[in-house]
Amino acid sequence: MTEGLADTLRWQCLEKMLLIRRFEETVVKLAGDGHFRGHYHLYIGQEGTGVPAITALAAKDHLATTHRNHGHILARGADPGAGLAEILGRATGLNGGRGGTIHLCEPTLGFLSTSGVVGGCISLAVGGGYACAQRRDGSVTMALFGDGALEEGVSFEALNIASLWHLPVIFLCENNSAGAMGMAKGGYPTLVHASTDLLLIPKSLGISSVRVDGVDVAAVHAAATQAIARCRSGQGPVFIEAMTPRWAGSNPLWPELATGITDLRMATGESGTDGPHKQWYENFDPVLRLARELAKGGAESVRRISALDEAARKRIADAADFALASPLPAPETALNHVFAQETPA
């Protein structure tokens, strides 16, 4: 039975991970074609963490995410069309064109405001946990953030408060510094922290802490499920460090599809993995890794993988069409929504 459950879960995760992967690949294309300006951050390579962790949450729970939010928003079920429209600054976007790629937010799915300030998400999530504790309804808040957030002072304050007040907060650190190129060749900055073991930080505050392989969907799901149960039972916060090896396309500010458009035939054995990114394709790409595991089920599984990918591609193509056909906001609406309800002078 356990096998069956895990199997269902794995297929569910693959579906969402494919949706995210095709979404992000489309974002790169839209940027390359000049459909939006400004820098952006992709979730490629971290799908194996966010998807199972968010799947483990309940509808009543809250989430807080960061500048690298696309995957989290989609994993929770946000509309990819409204997501792409937001990235293109369209009126139909999740934030009506006021947020952009860095601030995608879907409040109806429990997201708190998506902060682009590093560390902001950790501290807001503690507020979310405070609200959950005040309501006493067994709900929890999950913060999803990168390792860099632990360089910010407010993160320490927030972890301390969460521990002091036993707040139901799951701190999910997606450590994507592993295997990063560091600052070399103008590469994307990686962790600049005196601690070589980030778990020592929450541990020093008495927070239950665990490290998992962020590419292993089952391991992340198990850790998240356990953490959520602990939070719901009032035992205080949990810190999970998920190791998510850095994707080669994660350039500073403007990513590039260094590993190409993801080819699922690499997972089914229909295509080779040779070349400079062989390691990535064979071990670290969470989408290929999960698809490869599922493909072991035989021809039927391979067909199912192919069908899921087909559906994901179609959904994202439709989403892109929707976004591109959507109107830009009327300029004068820039003055709206400064205040809720009665607008003060």
Binding site: G99, P107, L112, G127, Y130, A131, Q134, E157, V338, P344
Partner: protein
Amino acid sequence: MSETRQSYAAALVDALHDGLRTDPRVSIIGGYVLGLGPQRTLTDRLKQDFPDRVFDPPTSEAGNAAVGVGAAMAGMRPFVDLGTGSFSYLAWSQITNEAAVAHYMTNGRLSAPVTFHLLHGVRGGGAAQHSQSPHAMLWNAPGLEIAAPSTAADVYGLIRTALASPNPTLVVSHAKLLGIETAVPERKSPIPFGRADIKRRGRDATVVATSLMVHYCLAAAEALSKEGIEVEVVDPRTLVPLDEKTILDSVSRTGRLVVVDECPLRGGIASEIAATVAERGFRYLKAPIVRVTRPDVPVPYSLPLENFITPDPEKIAAAVRCVLTAT
């Protein structure tokens, strides 16, 4: 008939108690809402009556503010006390870059109805780091409502409104206001934001001030009255929203304006109000507007130095005489 009077501090605690009593979403993050002075024990009954909703947080202004903002985004109505006004700088990102922008950035789909409170102002020996009034700077952060009450009735009414507001709100209390007693109605009630109160009527000049400066203006007006000069004291009570109409109407009657504030001159509250009147009420003015503020220097410790830079009734009276003789 004896008039009921109450201290600013006692009325503030009444507002919090009534807020906690009437709305289960309200909670208090802050162990020393009234500072460490003689009024501090007035808050004891909040903790006694609502032990699960009044928190003594760690010394973590950014963290505490963020907890309030995040909780507000998740549907609660927290009141976060930031302590001494200048400590709010540690929470600047949470106030200006999270709370104030959340509603706008989500196209109105999410709001952050947190109330921040702090003790501001030149308090006597506070020196540069314990005497500040950050609300002028925060007026430059769109999305934040700002109240600066001056009396017991006003602090009660404005805090009740802040706790009920769908927006993030800052309520500033001058440290020297806490012990000042003023008349209160038999039943105190919420006061809508954006409605100025004319604290004294007068025909000769309009003086606009908030917070402690209202009391200094009233003292100046009393002294000037003996010289035959009748000053109208307008207390906007909230800076955001600002009741421009009451200010402009008053200036249209008196033709002369003095704006008083304890914040530094440049980019300050007095400057903003003066600019508004110059822009929209120039035709009413019979003389140039005069601003009475702290000069652009940090607040010094020693009393003669502190007094030299701080607005007081004598300086306000002198400014009124000046605006009456100028043409």
